[in-house]
Assembly symmetry: C2
Homo-oligomer: 125 residues x 2
């Protein structure tokens, strides 16, 4: 690199020497995900962006028929029944789980394709 | 409901009358995603569970080469430069965007496969 002449009369970066504008001159029209769609998608992602809800999804998913009794879900999490019920309700409200009462116990099942549909929307961004 | 005899000697629900155990007797071993893995995955999901960051991902993704100048990203979002910079930094720190300084402007590019890898971990739950 020694011996390469340095021009002190031209302290600007190469982009300017070559006549390229310093100002931002976008040549491409930017397509942003519309604000409301982004808000809806973010809210749906926040449903699964929670460690307890991810664990619940993994537990129900590991059960035969991807369905589990609430009585099988509470103890392994080491959380109170009220806390687990709250997270289960969020997952039901989001359409990720269904809830079915059978006698004493409620059973929760994964809605086929619900998580995949959400992930697919992000993948398509 | 009037006229239906009420047994005061058997106040238990039907499940008990029929001999079915009230206690939860899980027949299946439940495999929950380990707590620490769930916390890490949830934190990574929170990065994309934000409307502005989803919009930034969609904008950069729509640019040729999936790379865009910061000067093209700020104005369409209608947010201050500081706010956009914050969100861009979160995306860089999470390994979703790379940042390259070229003269005056910084350029942000999608890391190939980064979002897909995150989505794939959720899909595999």
């Amino acid at each position: 690199m020694f011996g390469v002449p340095v021009s002190f009369t031209s302290p600007l970066p190469l982009a300017d020497i070559t006549g390229r504008a310093e100002a931002c001159a976008p040549g491409t029209e930017v397509r942003a995900l519309p604000r409301e769609e982004a808000q809806t998608l973010a809210a749906r992602l926040r449903v699964i962006a929670d460690p307890t809800r991810l664990r619940l999804i993994s537990m129900v998913s590991a059960h035969p028929g991807r369905e589990a009794c609430v009585c099988d879900l509470t103890e392994p999490l080491g959380l109170t029944q009220g806390t687990v019920s709250h997270h289960l309700r969020v997952l039901v409200d989001a359409g990720i789980f269904t809830r079915e009462q059978r006698g004493t116990w409620a059973y929760f099942a994964l809605v086929p394709g619900a998580v995949d549909a959400l992930l697919g929307e992000v993948a398509a961004l």
